[in-house]
Subunit: 232 residues, 4 copies
Amino acid sequence: MRNLTETPVIVLNLKTYREALGDGAERLAMIAAEVREAEGVNIMVAVPQTDIYRVSRLARIPVLAQHVDPKEPGGWTGHVPVEAIKVSGAVGSLVNHSEKRLALADIGFCISRLRGLGLLSVLCTDTPETSAAGAALEPDMLAVEPPELIGTGIPVSKAKPEVVTRTVDLVRRLNGKVVVLCGAGISAPEDVARAIELGTEGVLLASAYVKAKDPKALLSEMARAALGASRR
Amino acid sequence: MRNLTETPVIVLNLKTYREALGDGAERLAMIAAEVREAEGVNIMVAVPQTDIYRVSRLARIPVLAQHVDPKEPGGWTGHVPVEAIKVSGAVGSLVNHSEKRLALADIGFCISRLRGLGLLSVLCTDTPETSAAGAALEPDMLAVEPPELIGTGIPVSKAKPEVVTRTVDLVRRLNGKVVVLCGAGISAPEDVARAIELGTEGVLLASAYVKAKDPKALLSEMARAALGASRR
Amino acid sequence: MRNLTETPVIVLNLKTYREALGDGAERLAMIAAEVREAEGVNIMVAVPQTDIYRVSRLARIPVLAQHVDPKEPGGWTGHVPVEAIKVSGAVGSLVNHSEKRLALADIGFCISRLRGLGLLSVLCTDTPETSAAGAALEPDMLAVEPPELIGTGIPVSKAKPEVVTRTVDLVRRLNGKVVVLCGAGISAPEDVARAIELGTEGVLLASAYVKAKDPKALLSEMARAALGASRR
Amino acid sequence: MRNLTETPVIVLNLKTYREALGDGAERLAMIAAEVREAEGVNIMVAVPQTDIYRVSRLARIPVLAQHVDPKEPGGWTGHVPVEAIKVSGAVGSLVNHSEKRLALADIGFCISRLRGLGLLSVLCTDTPETSAAGAALEPDMLAVEPPELIGTGIPVSKAKPEVVTRTVDLVRRLNGKVVVLCGAGISAPEDVARAIELGTEGVLLASAYVKAKDPKALLSEMARAALGASRR
């Protein structure tokens, strides 16, 4: 399997849409695995917490958790420590998605814990300023997503390109290693290309893939758009 | 499989102890399944969120989630809706454990949602008064656990028997159907017997089982103590 | 000053609207105090946390906090213990408003603590079922407010009268003493009358008063409507 | 009154200790105001939310809130928007104290809002890494406080000096303007001197002052120690 941080990268967040639970998670992950293989692009899939084990065993694609709790293993009923996702087959986790936000100290804990256990961290932030803050915590990847655009189908790369360019700018000054992704409203292959043209190295998307009539066709085109834009 | 609400009942909460993740969850659930079969006592196991699917497929024992989020399936990154645990094989869930507390409105939502999807709800509460409040929401089971005793090995049935008897009293006045359990500090077979003598119909325990040198022997004795006390 | 639990009662929640901070809180409380005096109706005002002291010293009207934290005085930066509102002149507090929700155990703590310090508790709930649960905790007053109607100007007494009647029903079975209020969308004198005709003993309202062109006229009419409906 | 960001600076956090509510807040703030005047050192006091107005009117010392909520004025029952503390006389606020933590996005919001309204932000962080992250958000001051030392009387400057020096280092690389403070366990004048020798420009302390037998004497000595160390 190729390097996890190879770029361009497409991170698919299945969230907990009805279409993405159990069998649905398997189906959507299998399709993504095929496209990953066929197009030679780094695609990862963040599945519901309850489906990490199930999808990891089956699909040839790196599986992420959508959240980890800032706890070590122990007497923490209902929490999901980093160790729990690791033994279930995840290669990393989203951290601080706007639908599952964390306190600053807890973001620090989770990123450091993921790193300590050899897992990938994909930090989600909401503005260029919090992206700069996040970059100081040295996640492997950072996805900027203005929350007001999430799920709208209006791509941030079009609606607020300055959020993306300013994020890239601020983050690059602080940290040359973090892979910057563009999230929120990414729906079409041209949104992916545009995100990369604005200086990011990939995208984080959710509903557009989960709800697509033909997710394979959409993702294949997005993969090609990502590759094309990266080579320019 | 026997009726889920058959009493006496022993609910094992594996929490997220290191011994209870992945392979550990499987092992501890398999042992509990054997005791359940051998002793003919209703034993259930609440496993880490990431192990619900894995344990449900393998072990012949009812599997509970340790927590569900008050959300319908949808754009909720990192959450665990009731539907997610159902498609993963759980027969129900703990609700409002003191290590994963919920707002009152959310407890109402979760219990109602579990019921609507045909799943069992085991509401955890901390005092006789909040137990009475909880009973009004009509969970299937209710476990009273003074948080200051959780994980101490000091059984509530010994340290604060009046908490247990007053809970049974208040709950019974409001709701004749809910199965009342005794939690917090249950460590030995005699604690189980005592809990039932105080008027409950079972126990909720965690570290004593997870950390036991011989969990099978301990659970077998607890099962027999439960049966013995129930017949008296 | 008349008894705090005298009915009918009108509780004005100023929230943290711009019109209700500082001087605004004073002005809106002074108007309410005048109407209270002139109409002889039990009116109370829940002011921003920062204005409790200021309004209590000045206005002849019982002042409530909008929230208390489930903490005893101590090393709790930024929290508001019950003792803090008491020394500032509040006679009680809202508890568990849908905009500031509390865990079940914390509601139990806050109601019990308010009672222990001789202060009034006005528990807010969202459905008949959680109202029944709340009644078991023995608050002095209980206001049912379907959150989807809050701030809409659509009165629950018109949109969902069955929520109100079922709440009155369930609460009365459990607890004969709690004063039941009707909240959410109360905007006009006839909404107040209707709420009382449905079996409640008063109302909890916010934006309609805070944003009224003539808050004095509106509140005076509401007070008369409340008295009128109570006598029928 | 001297410039709010003049250094060395001593920020007194009264928390919600019983000794620091109402009259207590007034008394402790008046003493601090006297020392501020007599010693010519920049001293500020963070008082309970309910005492901001009361203390601001009375004591000649800059008053901070201990927390602000990430909300604009509006329908937010029980919250404390930045506008609420401003109209009550506060000159700024602590942000993200370990006893009242905030999500990363909310820290961004609060700091930006405080700045927009001309108020001072004192961001609290727990490690050098989260301090670096916090510095990117450009608060006016930043206090590093390892939570395990808070309230212990064991000064971080002695127990973990490397936390302080590494924080100063990382923050300085990112942001030359933020005033770095040392918190957690500061109890004696020599702790203040040591904190400044390690490169900070002041301290944040709480229980040592609130619980002191002679708070005036203690604070006077701390002020002199701060001045002395700053001149070396």
